[in-house]
Amino acid sequence: MTLVDTDIKKIAHLARLQISQNELIDYVNSLGSILALVDHMQQVNTDDVEPLANPLDQHQRLRVDQVTTVNQHDEFMALAPVSDAGLYLVPKVIE
């Protein structure tokens, strides 16, 4: 599988990354070489290998259903660039 300009543009848009025309060419090559590596790895026979969701051979630990936190509204709000009425404000988005 090879990557073309439009693939890179789409991926960049989905990740909300702005890239220049020069960078675009770099990415076509560098990401393309990663895919080439993946192609190469796919030659390995994996018939008897279970798909892996996580490299750690462990299971998820569970948390008791209890409220353990206190209200840190003011501290967190102070980190926000803009806030009002206890809300974080962001540039207007509407569907």
């Binding site: 989905l14 969701a53 998820q60 569970l62 259903d65 936190t69 967190f76 206890g86 569907e95």
Partner: protein, 483 residues
């Protein structure tokens, strides 16, 4: 051409946990914005999620209740998209390996027909925050209290063929999750909402038509209306030579229309991948067996018990058992008066009528189940009769007084003293000479109707306290003797 509607539903049930799916913040509704959001819910770098054991248990309870395959191994995945009320830039969900696999529920279509609807899967995921677009010039306000609230997304097969079937299915899911106690079922507060996938095809066709997805419907009534509208829109479109475009549409309940949500179309590339912050979830056979053993009586089992033990009709039993509060109410009423049929009639009749008129849920009914039971007991032991019972019911609706006290205060006690009633009957006969004459001359079929006049007068004279059937009997005896 005749068309067939094909519907599949995705229902989001908010799980009734104390804390969130991945953090120790409280799950609340209507709290002061951003007071129940931790670093995890805010998506701060380095903050790590830990799975809530109750949410996992509730998902398994649901799976067992719909006879589904429970996956011993399940995986959380990231569903990536950008929106300000999703600060991490992804929703933690499940994709290829959900906790609950294929199951089913049976829905009652009418008095006799039942239909099985397949449930494809159910998986755990977190809710997003809330965006508030009003009151901030050029800005949007973000409240992250709802962020990481646990949801169970229940995906059906495209097995429904009408809006009515979709509603019946949704009601069934509602009744299962509320019976299990894993969701409060409060649709007005968004505890249960649904997306509907709707397509149409010519009757008899095998291939499915292009579907549209109706987003965020939050009441049974809106599900029905939105689906009917959308099916009609698609039929009109195809019959005019157009094509249905696969898209997400929003149901606007105020204007009763559906409209396209164009902004989301291009974003439908979620790039799912396993979440590296969460390990695979593993549960063993004992865990599942334990939950199965502790499952409460489910709506279908309760319905069957109402038929077997109380002798209710299938229809009455299915109506009463469909809603947990109503079923509980019924059982208390019937325990008080020991008359299941009368209990069913009064709950499905008078009580439901009043509740609907006042838009009150049965759980908040102003007449308690023991009160209604006591009322029915007083009908059964002949203390009051039908008319007085309705007056009593009305009085109970407005006051918390004891049933027997109201009977005394309002003079509702039935007069069964034959002597007293006889005196009143004689009085009415002797003061209405003309009417009595007409009655005697009338042919038998007309007499029935004329008798009502005399019954009415006697009831009036007794101020409604006389037993109408006794009045009837005495009047007939006396009038026929005059022949």
């Amino acid at each position: 051409m005749s068309w067939e509607v094909v519907i599949g539903l995705e229902i989001h049930a908010q799980l009734a946990t104390r804390s969130k799916l991945f953090s120790g913040a409280a799950v609340t509704f209507g709290a002061i914005p951003n007071t129940h959001a931790t670093l995890v819910d805010l998506g701060m770098p380095g903050a790590l999620p830990v799975l809530n054991e109750s949410a996992l248990k509730m998902a398994v309870q649901f799976g067992v209740a719909i006879d589904a395959e429970i996956k011993q191994h399940s995986v959380f995945t990231r569903k990536n998209y950008f929106y300000p009320d999703l600060p991490k830039g992804y929703q933690t969900s499940q994709m290829d390996e959900p906790i609950v696999g294929q199951g089913y529920v049976d829905i009652q279509l009418d008095h006799s027909r039942c239909k099985r609807i397949g449930v494809t899967r159910a998986h755990l995921e977190e809710d997003a925050g809330k965006s508030l677009h009003e009151n901030f010039t050029g800005m949007t306000g973000i409240d992250l209290n709802r962020s990481s609230t646990p949801l169970l997304e229940i995906v059906s097969e495209p097995d429904m063929r009408s809006a009515a079937e979709a509603v019946a299915y949704m009601r069934k899911i509602h009744s299962i999750v509320t019976t299990l106690g894993i969701c409060d079922g409060n649709m007005a507060e968004g505890s249960m909402r649904c997306d509907a996938n709707v397509s149409i095809r010519p009757v008899g066709a095998v291939k499915l038509g292009t579907r549209t997805e109706l987003k965020n419907i939050n009441s049974f009534r809106f599900v029905e209306r939105a689906i009917m509208l959308e099916a009609e829109r698609q039929i009109n479109l195809l019959e005019a030579g157009g094509v249905v475009v696969q898209e997400t549409r929003l149901y606007d309940s105020e204007h009763n229309t559906t409209r396209s949500m164009r902004s989301k179309e291009e974003a439908n590339d979620y790039r799912y991948f396993p979440c590296p912050d969460l390990l695979p979830v593993h549960i063993d056979d004992d865990y599942i067996a334990n939950i199965r053993a502790q499952l409460p009586e489910l709506p279908d089992q309760r319905c069957q018990r109402f038929i077997d033990v109380y002798g209710l009709s299938e229809y009455d039993a299915s109506v009463l058992s469909a809603n947990r509060s109503m079923a509980d109410y019924f059982e208390v009423v019937q325990r008080c008066c020991n008359d299941p049929k009368a209990s069913a009639n009064w709950i499905m009749g008078e009580l439901t009528k009043y509740l609907n008129e006042h838009h009150i849920d049965i759980a908040d009914a102003p007449i308690s189940a023991p009160q209604l039971g006591q009322l029915l007991k007083r009908i059964a032991d002949n203390t009051i009769h039908g008319n007085a019972a309705k007056i009593l019911f009305e009085a109970l609706w407005h006051s918390d007084d004891d049933v027997d006290k109201i009977i005394v205060n309002k003079g509702l006690k039935q007069l069964s003293d034959v002597g007293a009633i006889e005196t009143m009957v004689d009085e009415v006969i002797s003061t209405h000479v003309d009417q009595v004459q007409q009655y005697i001359l009338a042919p038998a079929p007309r007499r029935d109707r004329m008798l009502g006049f005399f019954v009415g007068r006697v009831m009036q004279a007794s101020k409604g306290a006389a037993n109408p059937s006794q009045v009837n009997k005495l009047l007939l005896q006396k009038l026929n003797r005059l022949n």
